[in-house]
Symmetry: C2
Subunit: 576 residues, 2 copies
């Protein structure tokens, strides 16, 4: 703010000059005092000048509607919506989202810091304020190959040059707890840069959790139990209560919210697909759930606004108060949280669900061409098992965490697994696609339900290699080859033909199309997946598969290097 801007702000606030814009007759949600104040909101230069009685050059009558601060999503991966930053703005802003804290680690695993740069540039094309965290764990672990690696020295450079808010979710929680060199190198870079560090510590407790907190990691969005939540809060961490497309932790965690600890609780999406946004909304959905579970509506809004601002040091927003950014959401009431109008920096940017600014796109061509697969062929899918008593990856409800199961399976003469259509166990393969390593790892998956054909995706957290499963090696091979030809995305194959597909040209994980297009495509894919491939209707055919390669969520996962036991943080064998 310049001296002239400060003078204009004060003169406007004091009522000596008319405001640029006044939102008249609002019921202003006061998240600091927990009250509602009837009055006008004066705005100048994108900032709130004051709440009171004001006149403006332009006046909008709020007609008594509730005015809340703009909602802040405290943790989201834009890439998981399969749309670009420009498009996520178009989708979230009409739902009241005005700021998101985004971790671009999906695309960074494909294209490294160049991708972070792309995401920052693309974000400039939307009015949604996208604050990026620098991905901390690219690759997520040393037990897989990704398209890029971001080293501690890369991070040091990145914090110098870029507008990055902090270090993104530190998934290498065993590395922190054991103070490995790699973890220390990265942590110290963040400490020296004086930035916030986000956490990711599913299931961590006791002394290991103490260590994680002592390292300066101040949030967790992977907390799924009240006990874990309370332990984290007393260790000084903020809880980012998640309600995404894949994970629904909010209702459980709300039972652990108390008047004493609520200021340490925030709301986040983590992953939120267009379908979820269209059907349920964004943080407006979180707020409805909060209120339905007995949280005072103003306190709930506080979690989505001031608490997030406090946690991330965003001192310029988080409330409707003089001097803060004029990010304002007008709501019909404080129970349905139906978003009517949204203002960002004092400009009306959404009206009755419609995003108003022109939609422009940043050039994403540098993010294409991300398939470098060496010598893939059907024979790479063959197993040579020493025993028919094997480990299987058991899909669990939710589709993100898995169980380390065992089963007795049929083997052929070459000791390869034989698919039995009466048993819900199939081959799962991860095909490395970034570095021409030629790596293909194969394991067994139970509970996916597929009964015909195969499916292949280039969306496989977090390294985004190709993940694929099917009832025959032939179908799997065809699906993988088709996916590579298509340049990434999703392919469903059956009887030697592609029966449905969705190209995702940006890094193999994102589309340049609209959220509506993505939603329609995903819906078609789900239909075909359930109805033609027979995938279990209780399983999300894409999301579930995309998490099977993520070696930081327990219990058993598959990377391009082999079967990985997250509990012991080491590879294990298929044979029991």
């Amino acid at each position: 703010m310049t001296r002239d801007e400060l003078k204009i702000l004060i003169d406007t606030t004091a009522g000596r000059i008319p405001a640029e814009l006044v939102i008249k007759n609002a019921s202003v949600v006061d998240v600091y005092g927990g009250t509602v104040i009837k009055g006008d909101i004066a705005i100048v230069d994108g900032r709130i000048a004051g709440v009171g009685s004001y006149t403006g050059i332009v006046e909008h009558d709020a007609d008594g509607k509730f005015a809340a601060p703009g909602f802040i999503d405290s943790h989201i991966h834009i890439e998981s919506s399969h749309v670009t930053p420009e498009e996520i703005g178009r989708l979230l802003v009409p739902r009241g989202g005005t700021t998101i804290i985004a971790d671009p680690h999906e695309i960074a695993n494909v294209k490294g810091l160049e991708a972070v740069e792309y995401m920052i540039n693309a974000a400039n094309e939307t009015v949604l304020d996208i604050k990026y965290m620098l991905p901390s764990c690219v690759p997520a672990t040393t037990f897989e190959h990704a398209g890029a690696a971001i080293s501690a020295s890369d991070m040091k450079e990145a914090f110098k040059d870029r507008q990055l808010l902090g270090l993104a979710e530190f998934m290498d929680f065993p590395g922190v707890a054991f103070a490995t060199d790699s973890a220390l190198d990265r942590l110290i870079v963040a400490h020296e840069a004086g930035v916030h560090i986000d956490g990711h510590s599913p299931g961590l407790s006791g002394l290991s959790l103490n260590a994680y907190s002592a390292a300066g990691i101040s949030t967790d969005h992977e907390c799924t139990t009240v006990e874990g939540m309370h332990e984290r809060i007393s260790r000084g961490m903020y809880i980012l209560m998640r309600q995404g497309s894949a994970c629904h932790d909010l209702e459980i965690l709300l039972t652990g919210v108390t008047p004493e600890n609520i200021s340490r609780c925030l709301l986040c999406s983590d992953d939120r697909q267009p379908k979820t946004i269209f059907e349920h909304g964004h943080l407006d959905d979180h707020l409805r759930i909060c209120v339905r579970h007995g949280i005072d509506p103003i306190a709930a809004i506080g979690m989505a606004t001031r608490n997030a601002a406090a946690c991330f040091g965003l001192s310029d927003r988080g409330a409707i108060a003089p001097g803060l950014r004029a990010d304002i959401v007008l709501l019909d009431d404080l129970s349905d949280f139906n978003v009517r109008q949204v203002y960002i920096k004092g400009t009306l940017v959404a009206n009755d669900g419609k995003y108003l600014p022109p939609v422009t796109r940043y050039d994403s061509s540098a993010m294409e061409s991300s398939f470098h697969v060496k010598d893939f062929s059907e024979k790479k899918l063959k197993l040579n098992l020493k025993s028919n008593h094997v480990h299987v990856i058991d899909i669990l409800p939710g589709g993100v965490a898995t169980g380390k199961g065992t089963a007795t399976v049929t083997l052929d003469d070459n000791c390869d697994f034989v698919y039995d259509n009466k048993v819900d166990i199939v081959k799962l393969a991860v095909v490395e696609r970034h570095q021409n390593t030629g790596n293909v790892a194969v394991a067994l998956l139970r509970g996916y339900g597929i009964k015909a054909g195969a499916i292949a995706l280039s969306v496989a957290h977090d390294s985004h290699n190709i993940i694929t499963t099917g009832t025959s090696d032939n179908d799997i091979t065809f699906a993988v080859e088709s996916l590579i030809s298509q340049g990434g995305g999703v392919v469903l194959a059956k009887d030697g033909a592609v029966v449905e597909s969705m190209p995702l040209p940006i890094g193999g994980i994102m589309s340049a199309q609209s959220g509506e297009w993505v939603d329609k495509k995903l819906s078609d894919i789900h239909d075909v997946a359930h109805n033609e491939l027979g995938i279990d209707k209780n399983v999300d055919p894409l999301m579930t598969l995309s998490f099977m390669a993520l070696p930081v969520i327990p219990e058993l996962k598959l990377t391009d290097m082999g079967l990985f036991d997250v509990t012991t943080f080491s590879f294990t064998t298929l044979e029991v």
Copy 2:
């Protein structure tokens, strides 16, 4: 923190190496969760490693005592205790104070930035962590002469070079509300330095308060009503609830604390004399008052710890949690808050009321010799009134704010005021002492009660000119001359003799003696003031007088330049 320190911290936290010190068997106050956790506190390198079950190279058994985070006084003027920073550490630490946010504006008004430097250096001699704010208003107004002026460009330099936490209480609230050049210049320096700005806005409300908040001023410690408190909180400000020697606002403000707004409430002293510290304590006293008024004890401790840390961006303290400074207070219970042991950065620094470190002193000689009074003589006290219907400064209960009263007085042949021993109205004079201006301003004071002799002080907020009152010009003159000879402090005179005195050689406002010495001296002075000079026993003879020259607290005050109406922020006449 270096990489090696981080590794040792994590290894200690995870229990792989023994802690340097473990406080065993504590009832740990968890200010984030609002709970008490039984366990050990492990400490290494001055930081809390963890709370849980730990072994240490050294172990102290807390025997079940409550362990609270070290208390943070969010606003104090050390000079008002009339002792040095080293000594305030000795006095406050045994009461649980581990951090104070100090505004050295009293001494800065005498000696400018050189004095701030002295205060910083002196603070290094105590374990109490003294965080200094840079005085924002030296002189407090343009309506008086102080010993120094700190300009906006001085501030810009100071923020570059010094470890200053922010800009201290911005007393020029009319300047802010009217966006004067001088206020804008100083505000913008703080904005550009990205520092916190403390407020001082007695009685401000409505659009002017909006303007004050819009300017980026984020606290107020001058708030004395629940209405004002709630208005400030909804405008985004923190309330520093004051319980000092002069002002007792805490009990009233506590009635306005709610579960919704408590995180915006802090505790402060502003001014705290040794007598108050010895008789009542420090923030332990505030905590007792809080609990007596129905505040949950953990929430009360939260106001004195985590809220203060949050408000001032002290992310390294404010709770007992891994990685934070090991500033810990052991208490017998959570009702009497009897402080047993105090640890600062993991070292035991106070035990059962005794300060343990050696007391060393920084050289204060540069702060002496601060009297530059030109041509003072009795004739400068003469009035030449145009009317016998005059304004009088009415002392109000509390002794800080005053009323703008009127009275009809007797005049002599030269139209000078004649003292009438049946009427409690006397001459009040301010004698400029810094710049040889020769300024002497005279007004009339009602309610002080003095019946014989005179009193003169060189402690007169904030410019610290000489303030004096008495029943005759002769007595006043003698007191002022004696005070100058003494090099500052306090002089009580009667019948041509000094009947009691207290030298304050450091800037004329502070002693290099102990708190006990100051307390005894002040007590003797009070006795003589009440018993020999007849000053009203309901009036604090020194503190009340010292506030009569402070032109930023309403309603009527006297500076060396004349009678000042704080309500209109302009000079006024003695005659009605």
